[in-house]
Symmetry: C2
Subunit: 404 residues, 2 copies
């Protein structure tokens, strides 16, 4: 008897569509790629390509053409009407003849990541994309900066993906594909799963968000961004270690899975929250935890803009639903974790610590207030900061990607 | 411009259908009822009638006939296919000629509660109803006992409801009709509301259930049963006071509403959990918190049978969804509230106190462990127990309804 999955369906309602061939087909596709002209690609494009390769961007078949770009930017729909909140595009210095096959070359990795069969080249109003997607044209916004730095032409077409960019080697079992998380959920008998998006270690406020989700659903996928971050963020290996320790000590076995995905942050706030939900649907998650200032940066977005946008997209857009939650913290007066929604008084003694304040305390080896974070987690973070000499620390703040 | 409600629709998909006339129509219906032969009704039947009167049992129009009884008992569907999990029936010593109009007389209240136009009389296999609805024929089960004590005939027909049984006078604003809770939710801008079913005061474990719901929804309706309970339960006025104190001190304004509904407990466990969801849909609640042994008594039901049954009823059965939660408690090792799902170790130092153990501590003026309950709540309960002399206490344990 065929087993029917109770998980949410992949985005678009069909099967997962991973664009990376396996076995002999992969070997011959790689050999073929060596013979093609190379198009250099950026880190963001590389992450998007890997996501296409593992089926995380199902049902897309490659980088978007002009009609899809326009529809996605203006209405969050491709030309075919598929819900998609952020353009997935590839740029080049020059237009490319339709039908041309190119090898997509990641210079940082010194690797051909995939091939594209070009269907069209087109030029975009980058400022328009930024206004619609990021709600700002400010070049200080890291996502805007990436878009404005794109080359003059967008090149569209179906892709064949040839590499996972070293993520499986670097992160081992934590680098799970959508097919793998789905298989794991089914093995565990989970039907309802919340994805917890993170690019940081988890303190008690984050533990609380995950536990609230666990109280009402079957499981939680702690799903870390493994691609590039902005300067000053905790390196991925330290973060992964800190989260693993938290899970081992403070979560019940068989309730949480830690995994990662290959994208770079775009910091598009509300629009990126929607993208986070789209690809979590492919990973099999019925819910996405959306907290305060989800995927935001600086003051570009209202703290709950990423909540509101889920009410504007139409009921057919997504099967994966947001679990909208407020700012969470330990409250000494409540003697419990709470949020702005559940802590009754503004006068209450709440532990609210910014990321930069925490970094300052840890790097100066000052005590972190009790109940802000679990001691086992703080120990790992303290060791990380102790391992960075002052001079290096400044470099890390500027460079940001010390771990990769 | 007509305002569209974002609340769940009343059960059956139409409008609320309260069966109690208003104003002059009520006065003349009452005068008419005085001229009719009287049929005495039980406390449970009286509660069901009031619920029909205020629209809580929408779309029912009266007490069920044989085809509906059979369908509801066997398949949880009326003859028309409407989802309904527990028969709503009226019994009499003798069959009644179809077309006869009777006054439904509550002897305890000495009041005509409504009138029925009899459509049919039929006899049922009471033991069959008990096996299907209560999963037992054991006469020690209080719900079984009620069914087995019904008179020889079931009398069906549409009703006109003439009284709210004194609930508005006794409970004031806390006795809200479905139309009133819906209006209040809309006034507050709430779309997603969890009903918290209770027949007891709330300790920290219950506060935690409500707060978990609040973290992910707009509001919580703490919805107390105001009808009859089994012996030993805390009287409704003490409970209401204790819950009010908890809300005032530990919940944020505009997040919780305390209200009550007029039914007696049936203790039908899983089937009653479904009935709780059906009428909460009429009250406008998108969710029902379903905890451990919901609406159970003794050892008749598995602790999570009331979770599982929601998976068996078909997607069209209910708009109101269960928020399934595990056994909750304070854990000293976690230094937080937790549940069997979120507390990681079986060795943890958990505060688990049975209702009877708590009653014993309170009535003997022994200290209740810290973090089991809020001090303001314990103070009210202690006063209640201190006010009961030992001899009275025994009476209360036996009689059970001291407050009404």
């Amino acid at each position: 008897m065929a087993k029917t999955s109770n998980l949410v369906r992949p985005h678009g309602g069909g099967d997962l569509n991973p664009l990376m061939p396996q076995g002999d087909a992969l070997a011959s596709a790689r050999a073929h790629a060596e013979s093609l002209p190379k198009l250099p690609i950026t880190s963001r494009e590389s992450g998007d390509l890997i996501m296409l390769g593992i089926g995380g961007f199902t049902p897309l078949t490659g980088f978007m053409g002009q009609a899809d770009w326009q529809g996605v930017v203006d209405d969050m729909r491709t030309a075919d009407g598929l819900f998609w909140p952020i353009p997935i595009t590839l740029s080049a210095d020059e237009a490319v003849e339709p039908g041309t096959e190119l090898a997509l070359f990641d210079e940082e990795r010194d690797t051909i990541m995939g091939t594209i069969t070009v269907s069209e080249s087109y030029q975009i109003d980058k400022a328009h994309e930024c206004r619609e997607v990021f709600k700002t044209e400010d070049d200080a916004h890291p996502g805007v900066k990436m878009v404005m730095a794109q080359k003059a032409w967008n090149v569209a077409g179906d892709v064949v993906v040839l590499s996972q960019g070293g993520f499986p080697e670097e992160y081992g079992e934590q680098f799970m594909t959508p097919a793998q998380t789905r298989a794991e959920f089914e093995k565990r008998g989970w039907n309802t799963i919340a994805a917890f998006q993170t690019r940081n270690p988890m303190h008690r406020s984050h533990e609380y968000l995950a536990k609230v989700a666990l109280e009402v659903l079957d499981g939680v996928l702690i799903h870390s961004l493994l691609g590039k971050l902005k300067p000053g963020d905790i390196p991925a290996d330290v973060r992964s270690n800190a989260i693993g320790t938290l899970i081992d000590n403070y979560f019940k076995p068989n309730t949480v899975i830690q995994a990662g995905y290959p994208l770079d942050m775009r910091y598009a706030g509300p629009r990126e929250a929607l993208l986070h939900a789209v690809f979590r649907q492919n990973y099999g998650c019925s819910h996405l935890i959306v907290g305060r200032d989800h995927a935001g940066v600086g003051d570009y977005y209202g703290p709950f803009d990423a909540h509101g946008i889920f009410d504007e997209i139409g009921e057919d857009a997504l099967e994966t639903q947001p679990l909208k939650m407020d700012w969470t913290f330990w409250c000494n007066d409540c003697n419990s974790m709470a949020s702005m929604k559940t802590c009754p008084s503004d006068d209450h003694d709440r532990l609210l610590l910014s990321g930069s304040k925490l970094r300052k305390l840890l790097s100066e080896d000052e005590p972190v207030p009790e109940n802000f974070s679990r001691p086992e987690v703080l120990e790992i973070l303290s060791k990380h900061y102790a391992g960075i000499e002052t001079a290096d620390r400044v470099t890390v703040e500027l460079k940001g990607h010390s771990a990769r």
